[in-house]
Subunit: 246 residues, 2 copies
């Protein structure tokens, strides 16, 4: 019996949806893979080919998926976990490293970056993240609502622009309304807010409103929300944040 050839595990970002936003680095590793794992709609973006096994699984199965990927790599397979956006931003990379805890040995693991949703959304709007900013996941089930509200309050006090991922989930629909209330308590009513849905896809939709006009129904789980800082402004059809501090 010969020893299995050395397997590996790579976590890649497929970008926000448009295949033109995938890097050559990611294309290259996908071409070498024997196994691709991920959430069903992301695995659906990978073209089948002989020698490649696709393992689509449901959402909220991140740790099981990571364990399965680690096992396959340790059996000598060449394994890719696909995330949308960037795998390190509210996606699969952290779940994978959580699954590494307590294992006696680890396969060769690499993370390959991708275009995360906030960068794609910002580019479509103009340059609303052109000055200091923060990124907050509003749907994390592992995070108390009070902590989300505290972070938004401190971000407003710091005058960060803000990007909100997963702003409004079916299981916690009230979170985004509370966040809007925190913003209204700490920011001027003319503050600009961008709702970017399905960025880079054919049904992309971009909406820019003032905080006074923002309503929680403008967001859903496929929306990336960007809140400008106090200096964010419009020029022509574009929204941007100047490089100088407000």
């Amino acid at each position: 019996m010969t020893a299995p050839s050395a397997g590996w595990l790579v976590v890649v970002g497929l970008g926000p949806g448009d295949d033109a936003l995938v890097t050559d680095q990611v294309r290259g590793v996908l071409a070498e893979a024997t196994d691709v794992l991920g959430y069903i709609p992301y695995v659906a973006r990978i073209a089948p080919r002989p020698g490649l096994t696709l393992h689509p699984t449901d959402n909220r199965e991140e740790l099981q998926r990571a364990d399965h990927a680690l096992d396959l790599a340790q059996q000598g397979r060449r394994v890719v976990i696909v995330s949308s956006g960037d795998p390190g931003v509210f996606a699969m990379a952290s779940a994978l490293f959580e699954a590494c805890e307590g294992r006696e040995s680890l396969p060769d693991i690499r993370v390959m970056p991708g275009i995360t949703a906030m960068l794609a959304a910002a580019a479509r709007a103009g340059a609303p993240l052109g000055h200091d900013f923060c990124s907050i996941n509003l749907s994390d089930n592992l995070k108390p609502a009070a902590l989300i509200e505290k972070r938004v309050r401190l971000a407003a006090e710091a005058d960060f622009a803000m990007a909100f991922y997963n702003p409004r989930s079916a299981s916690r629909p009230e979170t985004f309304g509370r966040v809007l209330a925190v913003l209204r308590a700490h920011c001027e009513p003319s503050r600009l807010i961008i709702f970017a849905r399905n960025v880079s896809l054919p049904d992309e939709r971009l909406l820019t409103v003032t905080l006074a006009d923002a309503r929680e129904e403008m967001a859903d789980m496929r929306t990336l929300v960007i809140v400008g800082n106090s200096a964010t402004r419009r020029v022509g059809p574009y929204v941007y944040t100047p490089r100088a501090a407000g």
Copy 2:
């Protein structure tokens, strides 16, 4: 005399340095350009070809470069401004929109996202930005040092992971030392800090230390610094931030 064909202006991100991290979208628009403008080392990444005029210019000439690009596009040229990383994160997109202010008309402008340095650095380290985080430009000459220190203090209070761009400039070498002092006043000595220099290039260097061991000389202008949150930890050779709140 015939009217000039419609010109356009696109600001693109070339990623952190490795050409394998450029998107097809960016490659496509570069293939159609008549003029490419940008800081000398970024324009040096573009292959010359017949019909393409390269306009490399020095750093700190962002507004003149943007004005030149706008003029060329309005003369009917197909113009690309190249940034490293992502053009909307501490790069050329905001400068371009600043230059649009006060103009009577604007050409067709698009921004195309790229892999920004913090995502490439995070991927090399593991997943240190896997929970809520902020991005702060430490070298912005248009920002008072007190504001930088205030933002770092509030980010520590919010328990954000932090990415620092341009941490240590020749003109303001003292800023990063002050930032380390703020971190020491608000974070535990075991807090993990990653110094990532020239990520994705052949001379890439990654160094992870605790806050207690961090020294300002570990950073220069080509370094991206990531400060973990209170839960950021090591597993094997990797550094990651768990998805759950610390």
